[in-house]
């Protein structure tokens, strides 16, 4: 009996020990090492799927869509789920527009992740899935994605830019605002069954994506269409190396339209040559020629070196200075400041510059924004070329006065002329209005006051004369409105230095209505294929400005300036025949 009791006691003790061990191990697994085993289990069964954020749209100032997303699917395969590769390939090939043989080869794999085809349309992808379900075939899966589409094709291509295959901006606004447009991808931890389907009950931690913001530009597509059409026609008519135009609001610095030729289609950016992708309005510099005379005239007037009564003797067209001859197109005697601008006298401008100290003239050039980037939010902007006074020779200042020995970008020229139009303030060019939620992205901000309001008004008045019959740009006239502006005709510089004979960059930079400017415009035609006798800013670029200005005024429904205009248009009408035969 005692031995039986002992045996029972031993067995009980053993069982107790065994169960104690089991219990201890259970506690060890479930409590002590809980975190470790949870992580191991999660790693084995959980998958982190990325929930892609939608890229924001790019809109014009009126909400017209300029860049949108088209949802597409990427078809992938899991080789371990494919039982009959040949049958699956035969079924899927028409949907994926791939040869059956090639598809069969791709599907005959044991790899768990193979990309079969990208950018399959949503409709075809869904049709494929339905066909697979019907035929009870497995192994192909869909991944979400989107491609960027630019519905206006070439229009505004240099501003919009484009995205690469990963969806990141490469050029233009797409690059500058990539972070805002891109948003932030989310994720979800899921577990799946052996067929690869998500088990919703075991859905783990998730973070929803933050979609990208819409970017609203200052561009007005109505004006953009007008500018594009005129630049296009100019490009076809004159076959120049390039043709460009900008329209801006001189009071705010908002860019309303900008176009360059040659251009490209951002939907097919791989087909574009580098010269097509260049936004010449910010990446190219040129000698501005006579459009630059506004700097020296306004600087001397602002410094009170000259006044309304000042007259400059223009040497009858030949001025010898520093061993070189400065010429005018026609010989002039005494000219007032407005007449120097109206007649575009190089000698008058050169002599004005000589009345200023080198440093003072240089300071004004820099104050107008030349030699520094404007800060327009497009990649690749250059600052132009303005040499400091210690690098000047005796001739430099007199040459700079009429736009030689200096290189500027078109956008700098627009902002500088805008300063004359808006009463003397240099504005920062503004291209983005808001991020789509009515939050202003860039603030409207004057960079500095360059000249006084009196000076700006005086020069603006003088620039009205340029567009009169006595000026160099009567063809820039817009019926019903006063236009103020300045022509520029600069000889092209060769790749090895020196000027190229008979090849010019012609431009017209102006604003309208002159009294209360609403539009600032610049037209540049680089190396127009016309004879030297016709290759002038007033003959090539000014008419383009006139057409753009007329259509833009009609589009914006600007009220015409009645009384003031009657006088000017009367004058202009009497002399337009002369101008056209110039």
């Amino acid at each position: 009996m005692s031995s039986t009791g002992t045996r029972i006691g031993v067995i009980c003790a053993l069982l107790t020990m065994i169960f104690t061990l089991f219990a201890w191990r259970l506690i060890d697994l479930q409590v002590a090492q809980h975190d470790y085993f949870s992580r191991v289990a999660a790693e084995k069964h959980s998958i982190r799927i990325v929930i892609q954020a939608k890229r924001g749209r790019i809109l014009d100032r009126n909400g017209e869509e300029l860049a949108v997303n088209i949802p597409v699917r990427t078809v992938t395969a899991d080789g371990t789920h494919i039982r009959n590769a040949a049958a699956l390939a035969a079924l899927a090939a028409p949907f994926l527009e791939m040869p059956v043989k090639e598809l069969t080869e791709k599907l005959s794999t044991q790899r768990q992740y193979v990309v079969i085809r990208k950018e399959v349309s949503e409709e075809k992808a869904q049709d494929l899935m339905r066909a697979m379900d019907k035929a009870n075939l497995h192994g192909l899966y869909l991944e979400e994605g989107a491609i960027r589409s630019y519905p206006n094709s070439e229009m505004l291509c240099h501003v919009l830019g484009f995205v690469d295959y990963t969806g990141h901006g490469i050029e233009g606004i797409e690059k500058s605002y990539d972070k805002e447009l891109g948003g932030q991808d989310g994720y979800r931890l899921i577990e799946h069954d052996r067929k690869g389907r998500e088990i919703v009950v075991y859905r783990g931690q998730e973070k929803m994506p933050t979609d990208g913001s819409d970017i609203r530009l200052t561009i007005d597509m109505g004006l953009q269409a007008i500018v594009e059409k005129e630049v296009d026609d100019t490009f076809k008519e004159y076959h120049p190396a390039s043709a460009s135009a900008i329209l801006a609001d001189p009071n705010t610095g908002e860019i309303l339209a900008m176009a360059c030729r040659p251009n490209f289609d951002p939907n097919h950016y791989n087909d574009a040559k580098p010269e097509q992708r260049r936004c010449r309005l910010i990446t190219d510099m040129y000698e501005p020629g006579s459009t630059f005379k506004i700097v020296v005239t306004s600087a001397t007037y602002n410094e009170k070196i000259v006044n309304e009564n000042t007259r400059i003797y223009c040497e009858n067209g030949h001025f010898s200075y520093g061993g070189k001859i400065v010429k005018d197109h026609h010989g002039y005697g005494d000219l007032s400041i407005p007449e120097i601008l109206m007649k575009s006298s190089n000698i008058g401008a050169a002599k004005l510059s000589l009345r200023m100290s080198d440093q003072s003239f240089y300071d004004y050039v820099r104050a107008y924004g030349f030699g520094e980037k404007t800060g327009i939010p497009i990649q690749g902007e250059i600052s132009g070329m303005v040499n400091p006074p210690h690098r000047w020779d005796k001739l430099t200042k007199t040459r700079m006065a009429f736009g030689q020995s200096i290189a500027v970008t078109p956008i700098q020229m627009v902002m500088a002329t805008s300063a004359i139009a808006n009463g003397g303030k240099l504005m920062k060019p503004r291209l983005v209005l808001s991020d789509g939620e009515e939050n202003a992205v860039e603030k409207e901000a004057p960079v500095r006051e360059v000249v006084s309001k009196t000076t700006a008004n005086y020069i603006a008045k003088a620039l009205e004369g340029v567009v009169s019959a006595q000026g160099t740009a009567p063809l820039a006239k817009v019926d019903g409105y006063t236009v103020a502006g300045k022509t520029g005709t600069a000889q092209k510089i060769g790749t090895h230095g020196g000027y190229l004979e008979g090849r010019y960059i012609v431009s017209f930079s102006g604003f309208m209505p002159a009294e209360t400017p609403r539009l600032m415009g610049l037209v540049i035609v680089d190396d127009a294929r016309v004879g030297s006798e016709a290759n002038y800013g007033g003959l090539v670029a000014a008419p383009v400005f006139s057409r753009i200005g007329g259509k833009a005024a009609r589009y914006l429904d600007l009220p015409p300036e009645s009384a003031l205009v009657m006088a000017q248009s009367g004058n202009a009408l009497n002399t337009s025949a002369t101008a056209k035969t110039r």
Partner: protein, 134 residues
């Protein structure tokens, strides 16, 4: 047979047994209910997944259609169609425009100002009513 060797009989304690049976039954029932709920949960999860997929599909289709409409009605596309002659712009004669506000007198440039853009507020609130005459 004496009393000591008499076969003892164990009475069945029905009460206790019944109590245990009921307890086991309820535990079993709870287990079954748990399994049922778990299955339901999975079924609802599958439904949720299907609905989510359907919503995603519809959203994607909607996006694709919107992009298609945008492409077809974009300024560039319309201009191309005008150039190709599929559509054309027809000028609306001034006499065919019904104006809620009277037209401004013709300016020297011959352009009639439209009522929608009225910079001087001449037809705004408080503007004097004028008879329309041509």
């Amino acid at each position: 047979m004496n009393g000591n060797r008499r076969r003892t009989t164990n009475s069945i304690e029905v009460n206790v047994l019944a109590r245990w049976l009921v307890a086991v039954f309820f535990v079993g029932l709870a287990g079954l209910f748990f399994v049922y709920l778990k299955n339901q949960q999975h079924a609802v999860g599958d439904q949720a997944r299907a609905v989510e997929a359907a919503i995603r599909e519809i959203e994607a289709k909607n996006e694709a259609l919107k992009a298609h409409i945008t492409a077809m009605t974009s300024r560039g596309a319309l201009q191309r169609r005008i150039e190709e002659g599929y559509i054309r712009l027809e000028p609306i004669p001034d006499t065919a425009i019904a104006r809620i506000a009277p037209a401004l007198p013709s300016e020297p440039d011959g352009v009639l100002r439209t009522a929608s853009r009225d910079p001087d507020g001449r037809f705004g609130v408080g503007a004097p009513l004028r008879a329309i005459s041509r």
